[in-house]
Each structure stands twice: as structure tokens, then as C-alpha cells.
């Protein structure tokens, strides 16, 4: 299982993470799939996604918005691809749609069978056991307009992912509090940082902090 978690930030900030991510691909001419959170602006996000990865010599891409019905032809192609990237957006909407359409289990299976799965922000949170981190702090959380109550996600790792982290007292206060009520460690990463999870190792790119049982630890600098 190979997973890459992107916190966010600009293209330039993520170059190192991108290179590490693409080095995990075994195919010299890989097909990358972009799954946006929502089809609302997904086509334009896809255009940006393609332009970004073209810089690395990639030329085969699939666009797979999940909140519109898809035929089986494209569906099969997606799950035979080399990398599936989950975009950012509203985590509740994303999870709800993936679950409703039955793609959540497909994606989990894809990753467990060796497919490379990457996720930006909300997309990264979805690969963890649950999406609790999307719900705090109050000043920087996603709106649960879906009224979702089941927050279980893909459960591919034993940690929670907190993207767009800012090393400040008000974030820390909330993260420390949350880390007391969740059994898994919470990895909080600022924009430009990321996590790479392979069968052999857990690697952090850029700064990363761990919040666990009320304590904050710098784990990568």
C-alpha cells in the first residue's frame, strides 16, 4: 500500500513531495486519475492538475468526478490506473458522495492491492480512519451541510491527518484537546508538507507535528 498525503499550498511548495510521490510509480508511462471533491469546478481543477504533472513528463490522465453518474467503462479504467489523486474541498461532501456511489470501498481496495493513492487536504483526510479533523477548530473547519453522522473513512492508516496546520496557540489548544479523545495520533502539517506511507516506512516531507494524548511533538523539521 502506497499513500501520499498533501497538506496544501502552492505547486512550488510541493515539488519535493511530488517527486517522492511519482518515484513510487512503477510504470514508466503511468496513467494518473484526478477525482475532484465536486464536479462544480472539477473540470478546471483537472486542467490545473494536468498542467502541474505534465511538468514531470506525465501525459496520461483521467478525469473522474464522482458526484455525477459514471459509466462502467471509465470506472474500470480508473481502477486500473497507476495513481488516483483525491482533490481538496469539503470533506463531508466528498465522503458522503464517495459512500453513496460506493466508491469508498473501491478506493480502499485499490490502495490495499498496491495502487498508489494520494490526497490533498480533504482527499488526504479520507484515507485515514475517520474525518474528524475536518470538524475543528471552529474558526477553520468544513461545514457539515450533508448532516453526516458517520465519519468513518477509508481507514488505511493508524493516524489522523490535519492539513493546513499553522503553528499557533489557538490551533494547538484545539489539537491538544482533540488528541485526548482520539486513540490515534494526529499528524498536523502546514501547507507544502506531506506524508508518504509505504509498506516499509512512514516518511514526512517538510515540517510535521504530532498531537497525541494532549502532547505536541515536532516530528520533522
Amino acid at each position: 500500500m502506497n499513500l501520499v498525503f498533501y497538506s496544501g499550498g502552492s505547486e512550488e511548495e510541493n515539488i519535493e513531495l511530488d517527486e517522492e510521490c511519482l518515484s513510487l510509480l512503477e510504470n514508466n508511462n503511468p496513467t494518473l486519475v484526478f477525482i475532484p471533491c465536486s464536479s462544480y469546478d472539477g473540470d478546471y481543477e483537472f486542467r490545473d492538475f494536468v498542467r502541474h504533472y505534465q511538468r514531470f513528463g506525465i501525459s496520461r490522465f483521467l478525469y473522474f468526478p464522482i458526484d455525477v453518474p459514471q459509466d462502467n467503462v471509465l470506472l474500470k479504467e480508473v481502477f486500473q490506473s497507476d495513481l488516483i489523486h483525491l482533490g481538496g474541498g469539503n470533506t463531508y461532501y466528498f465522503l458522503n458522495t464517495l459512500r453513496k456511489r460506493g466508491y469508498l470501498s473501491f478506493l480502499r481496495e485499490y490502495a490495499l492491492e498496491g495502487g498508489l493513492l494520494s490526497g490533498l487536504s480533504a482527499g488526504g483526510i479520507l484515507m485515514t480512519p475517520n474525518i474528524n479533523t475536518a470538524g475543528y477548530p471552529d474558526f477553520d473547519k468544513d461545514d457539515n451541510e450533508e448532516d453526516l453522522t458517520n465519519f468513518k473513512a477509508m481507514n488505511l492508516v493508524k493516524f489522523e491527518f490535519f492539513p493546513h496546520y499553522k503553528n499557533s496557540v489557538r490551533y494547538d489548544r484545539e489539537l491538544r484537546k482533540q488528541s485526548l479523545i482520539t486513540k490515534n495520533p494526529i499528524y498536523a502539517l502546514p501547507d507544502g508538507a506531506g506524508i508518504i506511507k509505504t509498506p516499509r516506512a512512514l516518511q514526512f516531507i517538510g515540517k510535521a507535528w504530532c498531537f497525541h494524548q494532549g502532547l505536541k511533538t515536532l516530528i520533522n523539521s
Partner: protein
């Protein structure tokens, strides 16, 4: 969670810094009924006094359009200020003092009466008993004026401003009606609020997608529930504004209207290379109108826009722009057999629009000959003249260009492919049409407002997915897969049978598609993969899964009407902006994601679902 976004262009701090001055809304005062057309010919309009219509409130105002016109300053925020609302209401909340009022000597306070006359223009309309246009025209509209700013020139008219003597009801029932008379609907001179909102949403979407159209500047509502819709275009003349004079052999009026139109096109900067000689001007006019109507007919057909073009030239503007959204639709599939049932007759179908457009140009040819010779020859004499050949040529080329656009090719590549290998594009076009025009074995059926024979294939879906799948696999897809992607919800099992003929057609489609890719690759000197990648990116926008249809606009308007009392003008404008931007399927738009990361409201999410649910319909 989203990436952190920049603040939007029109941030609160900017709004807080915006303070209207006494001059901010001064341009509204220029919209006072006066219009240069009034100076041309008295035979082209009926002049009405107007008075204040009390109790008007702004429901929505199109800030972007107002800024583009120069009506409000370019730095004006998307916010309805008290002064702005007053300017809009003072300018547009009016009702005419019509013949009924005059006959019945109804008195209005002097202070309520506007100083200038407003014109209701005369034009030909097929639904009128008089087929020469002697009695027809703006039945419930007046022209507010013509605004000239450094940004350009705009005609402004309002719908719902009172019953004129040009409405069909007046001539069918042979009497003048009091404005608001509840015994008749359309003839009462008022307009419905939902009509205005539907027009505004539909026209903004089409405008963003490069379809020429009237646009709505704003909608006002009144305590009696009726509304006024303010429409704007750079030239609101219709062919029917000329055809009435033509049918009546009114040479002087016709000459003046045609000359007015030509001069206005020059002034608007649309026609730049006009010859000076009078006859050459008319030839130029005919050439341009031929091109405009051939291209418009091709665009309507290819974008599945049903506009009910007909012999009267009433439902379209001189520049091919859409006007009067009452019967306008955009189909999700090529429902080429759909006909609107207008009680006493059926409308034209989408494929018949081409011949109606051509017939309109035939009238222009007759006009030009009449103006040049002073003799009105029979319309039939003009059926086979050179303009006709030109029309066919422009139409066919436009169709091929439109097809290449829909596939996803950029303009320069489209031009090159057509120049290098037009035959290939024509062959592909035939193959495309075979699937596009395929109909259900179930045959024609009644629908809520007419008749239809369901199309069964969604060409937008195949154009969106094919380049991706070719890119991923490097080869054609299986025939069954092709049909799986192409089939619409209207297709039955029988419709999807893989006959020998259909197999051949699928193979041919894919073969020709690959040939187009190879041609582009050779012309652009890039790999086939890169061609497919460019097509993938562009066609995923052009052929987005969700595209509005007429039915979806109607349903969305109903949803808005349910919440209308709780929607402020700013909120409604925000909905309009975001919804029309979401429906902007132009891949060449420089759409910044920052701008569109909008927290979707429940209403907006409802809109998206409606678009999805009705995407294959009428």
C-alpha cells in the same frame, strides 16, 4: 478542506471603501425614453407617455452587465446601495399611459408623468391577424432609451410596462385594454416575475457560452405581484422591424430602418469596412446578414438551442441574438423532432431552423433589391441568388468548425485542420450525425408542451470520455463500451442492438476520430498523446456532464420563486453569478479557482441537482 484561497476580487474592505457620490448613478438619467430610432421614421413605433408605477422594488440587478455598460462605475461592488435602488426604480418603474387610459380620460398626478415619450416599436409577428405587421409589435414593452458611454452603445427596453395597441389581444378582440386587465393574460401589458428570472438566468448562461443574446439588466417587482424585466443589447432591432415595412411596401420607412441599422452597426464598431456607395452598402448589408444567419443557424443546431425561428423574423435579433425567452430551450440531446404546441399550430423543429434562417436572409435579399431598384419583386425570385450559395457555404463551414470545437480542438488547430483536410472533417461529421440523430424505436410521443421523438445517444458523453480512454489505452475502445458510454436514459435495449451496420458505424467513428488526432498531431508537431491530452482537458469542460436545459431552467425558476421573499437582490445576484459561471463551458475562459470557490448554499446545491436530473431533456 480546501487550500487557502486569496480574497475575492471584490472584497469587503473594498466595498467598505466604496462611497457613492452624487455622480455615481448619474448615467441613469440618460435613460429617459429618448432613442435615436425615434428620429428615423414615425411608421416604426407608437409613442407613449409614461408615468411612475409606485411600489416597485428591485428583485435583482446585474452588476457585471451594468459595469460593462458603464452605467455604474467599474469599481462598484456587487452591492445594492440605497441610492442605486432609487436610481433603478426612478428610471424603470414606469407604466405607459395607453389608449384605454386616454379614451376613459383617466387622470394621473402631473408629478408622476415622465417628461419624454417612450416608444413601443412596430414589427411583424406571425401570431397577429394582420400578416403585414400593420398592427403588431411591442405588446407589453417599451424602449427605455439608448445609453452611450465610453464603453459602447446599448439599447434598453423593458417588458411589463403596460398594454400597448400592438398586442395581439387588441386586434383579435378589437378593443383597447386597460393595463393589468385580469380578463386577459399576455395582453394585459404586465409581465410575470418568474419570466424575468428565467430570462435572466438563461440569457446569462448563454452569454457566457458565446451565444449572442439579449441580457437582463434587472428585474423589478410590484405589490400586485407583477414585474418589469429590463433587457439590454447593443442593438435590439429584429428582422421583423424591417419585414413589416417590406410587406407593406413602405419604401421610405424600410430605407430609413435599414440605413439606421447599418449606421448603428458601424457606430457600434461591429461593421468596420463598410463601403461608401449606397448600393455597395446594401450589398455589404446582405453579405453580413447572410453570414450572421448562417452561423446562427449552425450554432443553434449544434448547441441544441431551440429558438423557434420563423418567417416573421420576430424571435431573433438582427445580429442573430436570442430575444424573448418564452419559447427558447436548450436540449440535452439532439431532440430534432421536438415541436412546441402553441395551441393553434406547432412550432418548427430544431433542424428546420436552418431553412427558416435562410428564408429570413431571402427577405433581406428582397429588401436590398427593393432598396436598390425601388421595385418590390416577388420573394420567390430571390430563392436561388448568390447569397443562397454563400449561406450554404457559411453554414456548412460553421457546422464543421463547431464540431471540431466540441471535440476540443483550439481555434488555430480547427482552422488548420479544415484547411488541410476538410474532407476528413466532413466524413467525421456524417458519422457523428448518424449517432446524434438516432431516435428511439418507441417513436414520436406527446410531451408536456408539445411532441417529441426521443434522441437516444448523448454525444457530449462520448466526446468527453473518448480522448481520455484513448490516452489511457493507446487504442480504440470496444464497440460495446462505445455504446455503453453513448447511451442516454432514453435508450431502450432494442435501441442499443449492435447490428452489423451499427458496428460499422462505431468502427468508422473511432477510425475517423483517430485520423483527426493524427492530423492535429502532424499540424501542431506534437505527439498524438499530447493532442489527446489537450482534447481531454478542453472537452471535459465543453462537454461537462451537467449542462442546463430548458426544463432545468424552468424548474430552477420555480425553486427560486418559492424562496423569493427571503432572497435579497445581492443574494440573488450572487446566485446568478455563481450559477452562470458554473455553467460557463468555455474552455478558453480564464477561470480563476479562487473566484469560484464559493460556499454553495442549499438553494445552489438544489440547482445543481436539477441540472443533473434534467440534463438529457428538453
Amino acid at each position: 478542506m480546501t487550500r487557502l484561497k486569496k480574497n475575492s476580487l471584490r472584497s469587503w474592505s473594498e466595498e467598505a471603501g466604496f462611497k457613492p457620490t452624487a455622480r455615481t448613478y448619474s448615467k441613469f438619467k440618460k435613460i429617459n425614453g429618448k432613442h435615436p430610432f425615434q428620429r428615423e421614421t414615425k411608421d416604426s413605433f407608437v409613442a407613449y407617455r409614461a408615468r411612475v408605477r409606485h411600489g416597485g422594488k428591485v428583485v435583482v440587478f446585474n452588476f457585471e452587465l451594468a459595469r460593462a455598460m458603464g452605467l455604474i462605475p467599474k469599481g462598484h461592488p456587487d452591492k445594492m446601495t440605497k441610492d442605486l435602488e432609487k436610481a433603478i426604480v426612478d428610471t424603470f418603474a414606469i407604466v405607459i399611459i395607453n389608449e384605454y387610459d386616454q379614451i376613459n380620460k383617466i387622470k394621473y398626478p402631473e408629478k408622476d408623468i415622465k417628461p419624454n415619450f417612450y416608444m413601443a416599436t412596430r414589427y411583424l409577428q406571425l401570431q397577429h391577424p394582420n400578416k403585414q405587421g400593420k398592427t403588431s409589435g411591442d405588446g407589453r414593452s417599451i424602449w427605455n432609451g439608448c445609453l452611450e458611454t465610453k464603453n459602447g452603445i446599448w439599447d434598453i427596453s423593458s417588458c411589463g410596462t403596460g398594454a400597448t395597441c400592438l398586442s395581439p389581444a387588441t386586434h383579435i378582440q378589437k378593443k383597447y385594454f386597460q393595463t393589468g386587465d385580469p380578463s386577459i393574460s399576455y395582453g394585459c401589458g404586465y409581465a410575470e416575475l418568474d419570466e424575468g428570472l428565467a430570462t435572466m438566468f438563461f440569457s446569462e448562461i448563454l452569454h457566457k457560452n458565446q451565444v449572442t443574446t439579449e441580457r437582463v439588466l434587472g428585474v423589478l417587482k410590484f405589490p400586485d405581484g407583477y414585474a418589469i424585466t429590463i433587457r439590454v443589447h447593443d442593438n435590439l432591432l429584429r428582422p421583423s422591424h424591417m419585414f413589416n415595412h417590406l410587406k407593406q411596401s413602405n419604401f421610405d420607412a424600410l430605407e430609413k430602418v435599414v440605413n439606421y441599422y447599418i449606421d448603428r452597426q458601424i457606430k457600434n464598431g461591429v461593421w468596420t469596412d463598410m463601403p461608401e456607395n449606397a448600393h455597395a452598402r446594401y450589398d455589404f448589408f446582405l453579405e453580413k446578414q447572410t453570414e450572421v444567419f448562417a452561423k446562427t443557424a449552425a450554432k443553434f443546431e449544434d448547441e441544441y438551442i431551440f429558438c423557434w425561428l420563423d418567417w416573421d423574423g420576430d424571435n431573433v435579433l438582427m445580429d442573430g441574438g436570442i430575444i424573448d425567452y418564452g419559447s427558447v430551450r436548450q436540449f440535452g440531446l439532439f431532440h430534432s423532432e421536438y415541436r412546441f404546441d402553441d395551441q393553434d399550430r406547432f412550432s418548427t423543429s430544431i433542424i428546420e431552423q436552418k431553412n427558416k434562417a435562410k428564408y429570413t436572409v431571402q427577405n433581406f435579399a428582397q429588401i436590398v433589391d427593393y432598396l436598390k431598384t425601388g421595385e418590390r419583386r416577388s420573394l420567390k425570385d430571390f430563392a436561388q441568388e448568390p447569397w443562397s450559395e454563400n449561406f450554404e457555404k457559411v453554414f456548412e463551414t460553421a457546422k464543421l468548425k463547431n464540431l471540431l470545437y466540441k471535440i476540443g480542438f483550439k481555434k488555430e488547430v480547427r482552422d488548420q485542420i479544415l484547411e488541410r483536410n476538410c474532407d476528413l472533417v466532413q466524413e467525421f461529421s456524417k458519422s457523428f450525425s448518424y449517432f446524434e440523430r438516432a431516435k428511439s424505436v418507441k417513436g414520436p410521443k406527446k410531451v408536456s408542451d408539445g411532441i417529441n421523438w426521443d434522441a437516444i445517444f448523448c454525444m457530449r458523453d462520448i466526446l468527453r470520455e473518448l480522448p481520455q480512454l484513448y490516452l489511457s489505452r493507446g487504442e480504440s475502445i470496444k464497440r460495446k463500451e462505445f455504446l455503453e458510454i453513448l447511451k442516454s436514459s432514453y435508450a431502450t435495449e432494442e435501441d442499443l442492438l449492435l447490428s452489423t451496420y451499427r458496428k460499422k458505424k462505431i468502427d468508422s467513428f473511432q477510425d475517423l476520430y483517430w485520423q483527426l488526432v493524427k492530423t492535429a498531431s502532424s499540424l501542431q508537431k506534437i505527439t498524438q498523446n499530447n493532442v489527446l491530452l489537450n482534447l481531454t482537458m478542453r472537452s471535459s469542460i465543453i462537454n461537462k456532464y451537467d449542462r442546463v436545459t430548458g426544463d432545468s431552467i424552468t424548474t430552477i425558476t420555480d425553486m427560486m420563486m418559492e424562496k423569493i421573499d427571503n432572497l435579497s437582490p445581492d443574494k440573488l445576484y450572487s446566485l446568478l453569478e455563481n450559477f452562470s459561471e458554473y455553467q460557463n463551458l468555455d474552455p478558453d475562459t480564464d477561470k480563476s479557482l479562487e473566484k469560484n470557490q464559493w460556499q454553495k448554499s442549499q438553494l445552489m446545491r438544489g440547482f445543481l441537482q436539477v441540472v443533473r436530473d434534467y440534463r438529457e431533456g428538453l
